[in-house]
Amino acid sequence: MDYFPVFLDLKKRRCLLVGGGDVATRKGRLLAKAGASLRVVAPEISTELRGLVIVSKGEIFEREYQASDLQDCVLAIAATDIESLNEKISADAQTLHIPVNVVDSPALCTYITPAIIDRSPLVIAVSSGGEAPVLARLVRAKLETLIPASYGKLAQIASQWRERIKTRFDNGDSRRKFWEKILQGPAAELMMNGQEDAANKFIDDELANDQSQLTKGEVYLVGGGPGDPELLTLRALRLMQQADVVLYDRLVSDAVMELVRRDAERIYVGKRRNEHAMEQENINQLLVDLAKQGKRVLRLKGGDPFIFGRGGEEIELLAQNDIPFQVVPGITAASGCAAYAGIPLTHRDYAQSVRFVTGHLKSDDTNLSWPELANPTQTLVFYMGLVGLKEICESLIAHGRAATTPVALIEKGTTQDQRVLIADLNTIAGVVAVNDVHAPTLFIVGDVVKLHDSLKWFKTN
C-alpha cells in the first residue's frame, strides 16, 4: 500500500486551488461539494468556478500565484499548465506541511485523489496509487453498476434508525441480522423508491414485532430484455443478485440466467410453443405461495413484463394476496432487435408511429384491423410471428399494403446468434422456408427496414 486512504473533513476550511480552467473547475466542484471554502488564484477564472467560490464563501484572486496564498490553508491543489509554477506551489506547500496535489504530476503530490462513487453519505474511493488510473476508472465503473444511485437515500434513513435498533437488539448478532433483513428486503426497496413513510412504517412494524418475524417475502417481476445480458437494467441485475428463488421461461437467455445469484433456486416454468411446462394460473399461484414462505421471488421474463409478457395477470393475484411486489421494465424485443439490426422503428422520412402486435393469430385474428395495419407510414412489429407469418403477409397485401414493402425477420436478436433476413411482404415466407429459422423471432414490416443495409452495425461471431 503506497498511500494511506483517508476522508478529510473540509467543511468551512480554506483550500487553495491554483488554476481557473476546466480541470481547476472540476476540482473546485468536488471541494465545494465537500463544503470546503475555496481560495482560487489564477489570472483567468471560469464563470462556473467563480460561482463555486461565492457559494463556498471563499475568495478569488485574479492574478499570478504567490507563496502567501497558502496562508491559513489546510489543503492545496495546483491545476495549471505551467510546470515551473506547479513545482513552486508544491515546494511551498511542503515547506508549510500543507498537503498538496498537482494534477497529473504524481511526483509533485503529497496526496492523490481517488476515483469516486458518490452515494452520499455513502462514498467509495478507488485508487491504483497512480499506477493505473484507467484500471481505477474501470473498477469505478463496475462499482457504479453494483451500487444503485439510491443507496445514499438508504444510508440516510438507516442512520435515522440506528439508535432505536441498537436499543432494541442488545445482542450484536441479532442486530446485524435485523439490519441485513432491513437493508435487503421490502423496507430497502421502499426507501430506494422514495417512499420513506412507508419504509419507516415497515421498520417500525418489524421492530414492534416481538418474535421478529422477518420472514415477509416479496416478488420481483423483472424484464430480462431480449437476450444480450448487457441489456439488463441495473435494477434487474440488483434484484437478480438478491433473489432466493427464480422462475424463468425459455425467453430468458442462458447468458442472462448466468447472472442470477448462484445459490438461488431455479424453477423453469415454460413456455416453448406447445410445451407449457406450467399453466399461467399455476405460475401466478406459485409466485404467491413462494412469497408467503418468506422468499424473495424473482419472476424473470424475456423482454418487458408489460408488453406481451402477461405481467398484469401475475400482478393481479399478488395484489389480491397482499404480497409486496415490484415490476421492473425491460428492453422489449422490438426495441432490442431493432437497435441491433440497425432498423429504427420510427424515422422522419418513413414512419411516424410504430405498432406492436402479437403474431399468435389463432382465435384472435378477426380482431386485427387489417386496413389500419396497412397504413404505409406505420412500422409494424409482430412478436412471435413465425407460425402466422404467411397469413399475416397475405392479409396485409390483401388490404392494400404494397407487396414490395420491405420486411425484416430477426432471429435470436441481440445475441451472438442473431440473424437478420431481409425480404418483402411477397417473398419473406419463402425466404423463411429455406432458411431453417428458429424462435425467438421478431418480424418488422415497413419502409424503415430499407435503412438496415446502411445502418447495420452488430457483428456476430
Binding site: D104, D118, R235, D322, V328, A339, P344, E372
Partner: protein, 299 residues
C-alpha cells in the same frame, strides 16, 4: 455538476472551440492515453455509442449504457436525460447539453450529426445519450446514418422506451389478456400533423401511447371520439414518468383536454389511451390495508 449549457450558448461558445478544448481536457485528465501525438499526425477515429438512457430512473439504465458512459471521452446529452443519470457521468470528462426542450430546436439535427462525426474524427470516443430509446422517436436513425456515411464505427444501445417505463411505474400493462392485444406508439410532436388513421385506431382493441402529446390533447380526444371510441375510455397522463416526481392523472377521453389544463401538466408527459388503464384502478381496489407496502411502485 455537468456543463448544463443552454443550446445556443453551447454552440456559440463551444462548437468551434470544442475540439481543442476537449483535447486539452483529455491531456489534462487523469492519465488517459492521448490520441493526438502532438505533431498533427493522423489519428484513428473514435467510436460513437448512441445510447438510450431510458425514461429517467437511473436504475433503468442498461449495463451496456453505463459501460458506454464510463468508456467515453466526451458525452452529449439532451434534456430528457434526467439529473439522476447525469450524476453518473464521470467527473473527469466533459459533457455537453445539446437540446432539445420543446420549442427549443436551436440545434439543427444536421449540426448535431456533424458534431458527432467531427468529435469521433478527432479520435474521441463519443457517448451520445438520449432519453428513452434512440430508435423510438429518438432520431437515432438519422445520427447513425450520418456516422456510418462518414465511416465512423457506431453502436446503438437500446433503452427502455418511455411507453414501457412510464406504464410500468404507473401500474398499467400495455397489453393484457381480454383488454388489449397490442399497442401503438404515436408521436404528438408539434412540428408535424399527426399522421394517423384515427378512425381505424379507434376501432382497435388496442392500447395507444402518445409521446409528447400534451399540446395535441385536443386533437387526440376529438379525433378518437369522432372515430368511435367511447367518451369514458380511460386515459392516463403520466408526467415526469420514472422520476421521483412522477405524477399519474387518470382521466377519460372526453375529459382529457380539460384535465391537462386543470392539472397544469408539464412536459415530459405521456398519454396512454385504452382499457388497460383500468388495471391501475383494479389493483388499487384489491390492495387495501398495505397499499403502499404491498405495491410500492405506485406513484
Amino acid at each position: 455538476m455537468n456543463n448544463f449549457l443552454k443550446a445556443p450558448d453551447f454552440f456559440k461558445a463551444n462548437v468551434e472551440g470544442l475540439p481543442s478544448t476537449m483535447l486539452k481536457a483529455r491531456s489534462g485528465g487523469d492519465g488517459q492515453a492521448k490520441k493526438m501525438d502532438g505533431q498533427g499526425k493522423k489519428i484513428r477515429a473514435g467510436k460513437v455509442w448512441l445510447v438510450g438512457a431510458g425514461p429517467g430512473d437511473a436504475e433503468l439504465l442498461t449495463l451496456k449504457a453505463l459501460r458506454a458512459i464510463n468508456s467515453a471521452d466526451v458525452i452529449f446529452y439532451d434534456y430528457l436525460v434526467s439529473a439522476e443519470i447525469r450524476a453518473l457521468f464521470p467527473k473527469n470528462i466533459p459533457s455537453f447539453y445539446v437540446g432539445k426542450a420543446k420549442n427549443k430546436h436551436s440545434i439543427a439535427q444536421e449540426n448535431l450529426n456533424q458534431l458527432l462525426v467531427s468529435q469521433a474524427q478527432l479520435g474521441l470516443n463519443v457517448c451520445r445519450i438520449k432519453g428513452g430509446d434512440p430508435f423510438v422517436f429518438g432520431r437515432g436513425g438519422e445520427e447513425l446514418l450520418a456516422l456510418r456515411t462518414a465511416g465512423i464505427d457506431a453502436d446503438v444501445i437500446p433503452g427502455i422506451t418511455s411507453a414501457s417505463g412510464c406504464s410500468t411505474y404507473a401500474d398499467i400493462p400495455l397489453t393484457h389478456r381480454g383488454l388489449s392485444q397490442g399497442c401503438t406508439f404515436v408521436t404528438g410532436h408539434a412540428e408535424k400533423n399527426l399522421d394517423v388513421n384515427w378512425d381505424a385506431l379507434a376501432q382497435l382493441k388496442h392500447t395507444l401511447v402518445f409521446y409528447m402529446g400534451l399540446t395535441r390533447a385536443n386533437d387526440i380526444s376529438a379525433k378518437l371520439l369522432a372515430g368511435g371510441l367511447a367518451a369514458d375510455t380511460p386515459v392516463a397522463i403520466i408526467e415526469n414518468g420514472c422520476r421521483k416526481d412522477q405524477r399519474n392523472i387518470i382521466s377519460t377521453l372526453s375529459e382529457l383536454p380539460a384535465d391537462v389544463i386543470r392539472e397544469q401538466v408539464q412536459s415530459p408527459a405521456l398519454i396512454i389511451v385504452g382499457e388497460v388503464v383500468r388495471m391501475k384502478e383494479k389493483l388499487q381496489s384489491t390492495v387495501k390495508a398495505h397499499a403502499a407496502e404491498a405495491h410500492y411502485l405506485l406513484a
